[in-house]
Amino acid sequence: MIGQLAAVVPAFIVLGVVGIVTARVQAGRVLVYGGSLVLCAVLLGGGLAALTGDIQRIVLPIGIPWVGGHLRLDALSGFFLALIGLGGGGASLFALGYGQSEHHPGRVLPFFPAFLAGMTLVILADDAFLFLFGWELMSLSSWALVMAHQDEATAPSAPQPGYVYLLMATFSGLTLLLAFGLLAGAGGGLAFDNMRLHAAGPGVTAGAFVLALIGAGSKAGLVPLHVWLPLAHPAAPSHVSALMSGVMTKVAVYGFVRIVFDLLAPQPWWTATLVLVAGGITAVLGVLQAVLERDLKRLLAYSTVENIGIIFVGLGMALAFRLNGFAAGAALAITAALFHAFNHTLFKSLLFFGAGAVLNATGRRDMETMGGLIHRMPVTAFFFLAGCMAVSALPPLNGFASEWLTFQAVLLRPQLPQWGLKLMFPVDGALLALAAALAAACFVRAYGAAFLGRPRTPAAEQATEVDHWSLTAMGGFALLCLLAGIFPGAVIDALAPVSQAMTGARMPVQLADPWLTIAPIAASRSSYNGLLVFSFIAVSMLLTIAAVHRVSRGIRRSPPWDCGFPQAAPDTQYSATSFQQPIRRVFGVIFRVRDSVDMPAPGERRAASITQRRWDPIWDPLYAPIAGLVSWIAERMNVLQFLTIRSYLSFVFGALVVLLLTLALWQ
């Protein structure tokens, strides 16, 4: 089977070439996206089969000559291949309709399959060379997709998404390269099998761990390496945004899990603490920035940062349990993390599709220019609502099931001997709880501002429902969100081989429990039944409606009441910015939010205005100085461009002399 799956990678490349040739015709779009859909279905099927199958390996005569190209398919890669298949298939389906409105298909069609090819290669790779090759292919093709709409991008003063993304992607590739270098050791065994056998010293292990955390974390969007993500993800076309947020971040998570759980020897305890700290901070900071964001797609990107934080908290707990020899706990924690990764792929793709549909219908991303779309786009609005409820971790949808599992892992409270872990568990529990509550606030605001209320602009007033392809894609993901929420046991059981391979233990079989209840440890300790909760709510709701409608009289439509002072102008309704004001006041300390009101004196005829200034706790102290330094150096180096040929020659000569001198002194 691995052969067929490996063949998918070149097939994607071929599709990309087809995209170059046929970009100008309608059929090209159908061909590329339809082909991607079929290939993704293959990935999904193969990945699901690999979850239960044996480990398969294959060595191809490509790559570095004396190493060859090692490919491997095991439960872990099967799970992530299925994620790519799912997310990529959904994005292709959505793009079949959404792609119609693309102004420059030539900038998107060739890179979309290449992007998928890169991600698939990363998952299948079993040596450092192919892994990094896939990683860079993924980075570069997604960078090209981010650049597709660069000309209509943000103000020139703002950081340029493509530039920042390219820098961070290069950085992440570099750190991973170094990590593999450390892992391979002096022998230089680039195949993962060599690394598994090669027992490195504690210092090397710790170094490789930190490098892997930085490399994979910056691709996934771990604070403080997340700065590129809210810039780059929204800048791409919406189906690509969905793919980047929903799938590419998961590939990064895969990279981390593969290196840390599979390739590395057990690490010292502070590494788990590091992951727990980073995860907790990422979750809260991401969602807080999402609450403060006006741009719908950027809001979703920040929410991705939050969810990555939740996943990394789960992984950190799994590491902590594993190094203390508590395999059952590690199995629970890693299952929770992977379950959340799966859920995030589902609902974040759905939400980005919804944002894309809105963008297509209104041409807007700023929520302050939307409103009332539930009337104009009822189906999209319904599916988007399902996505909002899922991402807010509300039962009976899937987001709740995985967060519930994560909380159960926190509550295991084994007697961890290390004080750092002992303190980080409760703190991370509190941070996750805070993040979950703030996510609900964030998505009430997003949905309320975009879909509810009255239209704020003519564009929103005249929006029309999107095409059937897009709606099918959204509906499919909404349904999956519900199914994963009411049958969490099925997902947990499917993940059992992965946790067995990574932690040496698995959670108890869930589907055997009566009534499809999930119970991570024992039913008396904690159990949750999504199916029962869902049907309970549905039945009692229907019963209530039936009963109430028997006794009550009909409804009458009238102008809104609004305490007797309804205002006709849509500007008088609560906006997204006014909605976040209380939260801004409470949590604004972190962002040093300053509101300044410019109120003209009575009689003056200019408009009043309110401006908000916000300080980014990561960008301003950390990246702004670096950016400043780089441009300062660049400014100085600029002189080099305008020298005579003689000066250039003297530089070369000087360099040669210095090198020779070094060599002489070295000996």
Binding site: L394, A430, S526, Y528, Q581
Partner: protein, 324 residues
């Protein structure tokens, strides 16, 4: 399946059904009772104990007037809020533990179910596009964004002590006295009282009887509702109050709780003690509401933040030392 099994299952189903019906029917009475206690403390005669029932009947009978631009969400939300709150309430051991569906959701699920209800209501507040609906929804989510983590911290403390997040198991553990007297439990209790007051929109966080628009939170959010929709929301609010008081009772004073529903005597004791607890705690709520003044909206985060910190401190103590 044998005949006896079927009978046992029917019995369990019956007990669960009785619990759900009783809690549904008694919830407005508790609201009326708290109002009465407050009125008497303020030297007013106050409305009858059954006044909430009359209100509900009147509202249900009336025509519902809704705004021209209300969407389907506005019309569905009240039923969803009601159903989610009711399901959450059904998971609480009121007079007996180990009811049939008690294991389908634990304390975390109960918290999240109430969160679902709030999510729907806040959205409905924004649906018409009025200033009041927006201000209510915005403040509600701000309060919830601190109250919900505080609640989860309380759940964590209780769960770490009892070794379970299942409310029935927790109640049995507490009943057995194995918990003893613990610092973290005291912290959880104080935090839970604070959160319960905030979640139910009682003084000093919000005032259920206010008509001063700028101070309203919950009332501003549901301003556009009338008729049967309003009845559903009011009923859900009563249910939520009863849910929280029952939850406090079953965790911290589980005395009298029936272990299983098979013994008639146990059930009778359970029901009596539950009603007595409701009466005492409801009166305490009335007294507390009379004794304090409502605080400014932007003092609420401090107040709830203190509950969050207490909860966190309790959990921290439990992680560091078994004995606390």
């Amino acid at each position: 399946m044998k005949g006896a099994d079927v009978l046992a299952m029917l019995h369990a189903l019956l007990a669960q059904g009785v619990q759900m019906t009783v809690i549904l029917l008694l919830a407005p009475l508790l609201t009326g009772y708290v109002r009465k206690v407050k009125a008497r403390l303020q030297r007013r005669r106050g409305p009858d104990l059954v006044q909430p029932y009359r209100d509900l009947r009147r509202l249900l009978g009336k025509e519902a007037v809704i705004a021209d631009n209300a969407s389907w969400l506005f019309r569905v939300a009240p039923y969803f809020v009601f159903a989610a709150t009711w399901v959450a309430a059904a998971l609480i051991p009121t007079f007996a533990a180990n009811l049939m569906f008690s294991w389908s959701g634990d304390l975390i699920a109960i918290t999240a179910l109430l969160g679902s209800a709030r999510f729907a209501l806040a959205l409905a507040g924004m649906d018409i596009g009025t200033a009041f609906g927006g201000i209510g929804a915005s403040r509600e989510v701000m309060i919830a964004s601190i109250a919900e983590p505080a609640m989860l911290m309380i759940v964590f403390s209780v769960a770490l002590i009892a070794g379970s997040t299942q409310l029935s198991t927790v109640a049995e553990y507490m009943l057995s006295g194995a918990a003893g007297i613990r610092v973290s439990l005291a912290m959880a209790l104080i935090a839970l009282l604070v959160v319960a007051i905030a979640e139910n929109g009682r003084v000093p966080v919000d005032n259920p009887a206010t008509h001063l628009e700028l101070t309203m939170v919950h009332e501003a959010m549901v301003l556009e509702y009338s008729g049967r929709h309003l009845a559903m929301i009011e009923w859900a609010a009563s249910l939520k109050l009863m849910l929280y008081i029952s939850m406090i009772a079953c965790i911290f004073i589980p005395i009298g709780l029936a272990g299983d529903t098979n013994s008639p005597l146990g059930n009778a004791v359970g029901v009596t003690s539950w009603i007595a607890k409701m009466a005492v705690l409801g009166a305490a709520l009335g007294v507390a509401e009379t004794a304090v003044a409502k605080m400014r909206v932007f003092r609420v985060p401090n107040y709830l933040g203190a509950a969050l910190m207490l909860g966190l401190l309790g959990v921290l103590l439990l992680f560091v030392s078994q004995g606390m």
